[in-house]
């Protein structure tokens, strides 16, 4: 299109004017995302990388190079500190929970909705509702449902079961947080997968029906390969939750000082940060985790893209 207009633009002044207007339009359209990218991504990341090699000098009011010092402190923590190791393990547990529990469930429920099971519309609302409520409200509702004043404990007591400490035990609380993440995360994934499934040509579904293909086979051998790119993207996003999840444990554990068993990488950084003077260490901490984990994500992504070939439809 650009070539067409640029060739034609030399012909008449009207075309020339049109060409300028076209470039102005493109520039305006690109300006916002570009500036946003430069500030939010470029500046923030470069600043964090720079900061991680410095310490704040209060007298000179600037950050000065200290080389690997902050990284050595971080590494030391990773190797020797039991609490940090527990926190890394907590964070890493979000990978199987998101990718091997939440994701398959989302695909399954999306498929049910795709097959228009009775009451599918209601289920769609039920699944999606947690995604549109503020996380503070949702976590509070979830937390209060379990406990002496909630509705779960009285039911258990009536059944003669002593209710456990849902959010006060180092064993059960992480499971409750994972349970919450699966429950609250389904809606978003279902929207993605429903969108992907609805794009699959109806003829394929009709043909497989005529051929007597059952639901399980249709899901595993037809639907999943056809929506594979969406699954890979969702899987990779799920993997990144290891580095990003913090609000769920923060709210579910009572906001103030998260006990060790619920700490995650992001939550630890969030809880620790109270002034810019702490930025160098925390930047090194975050970057070190990223440097270690991003290659794993890239490898998994590379591995997954080899499963099925992209199909255009």
């Amino acid at each position: 299109m650009i070539k067409k207009y640029s060739n034609a633009a030399t012909a008449t002044p009207c075309r020339k004017k049109y060409k300028i207007a076209y470039y102005v339009f493109v520039a305006i359209a690109l300006a916002y995302p570009l500036i946003r990218f430069l500030i939010v991504w470029g500046y923030v990341n470069i600043s964090a990388i720079w900061s991680s090699f410095t310490r704040y000098d209060i007298l000179r009011d600037k950050n000065i190079f200290v080389g690997f010092l902050q990284y050595r402190l971080v590494l030391n923590k990773f190797i020797n500190d039991e609490g940090t190791q527990k926190m890394l393990l907590n964070s890493f547990m979000y990978f199987p929970v998101t990718c091997f529990i939440s994701l398959p469930l989302s695909i399954l429920f999306s498929y049910f909705l795709y097959k228009k099971v009775p009451g599918g519309g209601i289920f769609r609302v039920i699944f999606y509702l947690p995604s549109i409520l503020p996380i503070a409200v949702l976590t509070m509702a979830f937390r209060f449902a379990f406990g002496p004043d909630g509705f779960i404990d009285p039911i258990l007591i009536r059944l003669g079961i002593t209710p456990p400490l849902w959010f006060g035990s180092s064993t059960l609380t992480p499971i409750m947080i994972f349970f919450y993440c699966v429950w609250a995360g389904l809606g978003f994934n279902i929207v993605l997968f429903s969108g992907a499934m609805s794009r699959v040509p109806i003829e394929i579904s009709e043909y497989s029906k005529l051929e007597g293909v059952g639901y399980t086979r249709e899901l595993l051998q037809i639907m999943i390969p056809l929506i594979w790119p969406t699954i890979v993207t969702t899987f990779v996003l799920g993997m990144s939750s290891v580095l990003t999840v913090y609000l769920q444990p923060y709210f579910l554990m009572g906001s103030n000082s998260a006990p060790t068993y619920g700490r995650t990488i992001s939550l630890d950084i969030f809880n620790s940060y109270s002034s810019e003077m702490q930025a160098p260490y925390l930047a090194a901490f975050g970057l070190f985790c990223t440097i270690c984990y991003v290659p794993v994500i890239l490898l998994v992504r590379g591995f997954m893209t080899r499963f099925f070939k992209d199909v255009a439809y």
Binding site: N76, S272, E276
Partner: protein
């Protein structure tokens, strides 16, 4: 293949960056540590007001931005009203905010622009703002004459009105003058310890324990009595929240100070000698923690069964509802629960002086030393250097130091005090709630302390050094007690682990903040 080339290129760049960065020398920080001044407050006596009152032109303004949190805003409303009455040409605008970031991470930028005049909040990074010249040097304010003691002829300056135990937390290094200068006014002073439900204590004839042994005996009595509250719930000796388990610091730090003495704690808080973390060299904090360990985790049935699960609010409500006789608390607890809520529950609460441990240090008369730890030491009042109404701001601060005006704060905050000295006898007489009377009595008879430190290991560190550098482990010690499948959280394992970490990382931790 091209993708791998890109990846290799990126890795190569990163390695280059790492190498370049590691060639630099971070240098060292050269700020001498502040030395705490006199530890005794200037006692209120036969004082005459000599403060020179300033006059301001018609239409003068004062803008005060404050964190609208646990202390409420009634005290500021009362001060505004009285100040405007006395200075009819001045109008005060109060700007409440619930966004803590406006006073912490964002304040530095705000102070560069068109700031308000006075900021009141906790966790203001005032040390950095002071060095940057963004907040006002208050040396002149601290030097301001407020009263004259008619008996001794001594001039009582603003500095004398500030509680001695908070003065060093208001000073920071003034590089140009090569001395420590005042940059903030400590907003709060009070104390914490063990809150008790007076209604239940009266009903069941339980006595306030004076010693650790009496406290243990009381817990045993409560536990074995099977006492129930009006709603039929079992009354436990304690309720606490794992989400804010640091509330136990109010008790444990008191025991630490009883065992070690306040001077020893001041030495500890300089963070100049790593051996203070070695329990063999400095056993006091471990001893204090052990008393707590033998009281709480070792008696699992003495704590409300939901203590590990309760958040802060739920814990407060359980205490107000009479489900427990005692709760670790700080000065703001009554304000936080709310007087109306307490009245609704028909519950009167008080704060007991922390019982003496057996080997507490004694004073000259042979009595155990009475100390009180104040968790609320981080609240600050600062003046923006670019403030448009600096003169009015200074006038307001010095006006606040007048006895009558400073009393507006405790009159509106249930047992909290400005960081100034008070006539406790008068406050006790004026109080009509047990909580206030108890706190004022404790403050009258105790030496208050905070754990503020002017060490760069605290204000400059990525993870600020504290008496518990690896976390306080209260919750874990309680939960894991006697469970062989869980990590050990005994006093030995907790404090040995801290010492191992400090011993190993000390030099690196110092280097990271620029100490040689």
């Amino acid at each position: 293949m091209r993708r791998y080339q890109k990846l290799l290129c990126l890795l190569f760049c990163l390695v280059l960056l790492f190498v370049a960065a590691s060639c630099e020398d971070g240098g060292t920080i050269d700020i001498p540590q502040d030395t705490p001044g006199p530890s005794d407050d200037v006692e209120i006596g036969n004082w005459t007001l000599i403060r020179q009152k300033a006059t301001f032109p018609e239409g003068s303004q004062l803008r005060i931005k404050f964190f609208n949190g646990g202390y409420g805003r009634q005290w500021l409303d009362a001060m505004k009203e009285k100040f405007e009455e006395e200075y009819p040409t001045v109008t005060i605008t109060l700007i409440p905010s619930n966004n803590e970031a406006e006073f912490t991470t964002l304040l530095s930028t705000t102070l560069d622009g068109t700031p308000d005049d006075i900021y009141i909040c906790h966790n203001i990074p005032w040390e950095r703002l002071a060095i940057q010249g963004k907040i006002m040097n208050l040396d002149n304010v601290y030097n301001f004459a407020i009263y004259k003691d008619e008996d001794t002829g001594r001039i009582i300056r603003f500095e004398d009105r500030i509680v001695a135990s908070s003065r060093n937390s208001a000073r920071f290094w003034n590089e140009s003058a090569k001395k420590y200068s005042y940059y903030k006014i400590p907003q709060i002073h009070s104390g914490g310890g063990i809150a008790y439900n007076k209604t239940l204590f009266d009903k069941f004839d339980w006595e306030i324990p004076k010693t650790y042994d009496e406290l243990v005996a009381l817990c045993d009595t409560i536990s074995k009595s099977g006492a129930k509250n009006d709603a039929g719930d079992t009354i436990y000796p304690f309720v606490w929240s794992n989400a804010v388990a640091y509330m136990w610091d109010s008790v444990v730090f008191d025991w630490w100070a009883q065992l070690a003495g306040l001077e020893s704690i001041q030495e500890f808080l300089r963070y100049e000698d790593k051996n203070f973390f070695n329990p063999d060299h400095y056993p006091y904090l471990k001893q204090a923690w052990t008393y707590w360990y033998n009281l709480v985790p070792a008696h699992q049935n003495w704590s409300h069964p939901q203590s590990l699960a309760f958040d802060h609010l739920q814990c407060n409500m359980a205490f107000a509802a009479g489900q427990a006789a005692m709760m670790p608390a700080t000065c703001w607890t009554a304000n936080e629960i709310g007087v109306d809520v307490l009245e609704e529950f028909g519950c009167d609460i008080g704060l007991m002086p922390t019982p003496f441990v057996p080997d507490a240090k004694t004073d000259d008369d042979g009595n155990p030393i009475r100390v009180v730890f104040d968790l609320a030491g981080k609240d600050s009042i600062i003046v923006a250097n670019k403030a448009k109404n600096k003169a009015v701001a200074v006038e307001f601060l010095t006006w606040m130091a007048e006895l009558e005006n400073s009393e507006l704060f405790p009159a509106n905050t249930n047992g909290l005090l400005l960081g100034m000295t008070y006539d406790f006898d008068k406050l006790i007489e004026q109080s009509n709630r047990t909580w206030e009377k108890d706190i004022f009595s404790i403050l009258k008879t105790s030496r208050r302390f905070t754990i503020y430190s002017s060490s760069p290991m605290v204000y400059l560190a990525g993870t600020p050094l504290s008496p518990y550098p690896e976390g306080n482990y209260y919750g874990e010690a309680y939960e894991y007690y006697g469970d062989p499948t869980k990590p050990s959280r005994t006093p030995d394992t907790v404090f040995n682990s801290v010492w191992t970490m400090i011993d190993r990382d000390w030099d690196m931790m110092r280097a990271a903040v620029g100490l040689s």
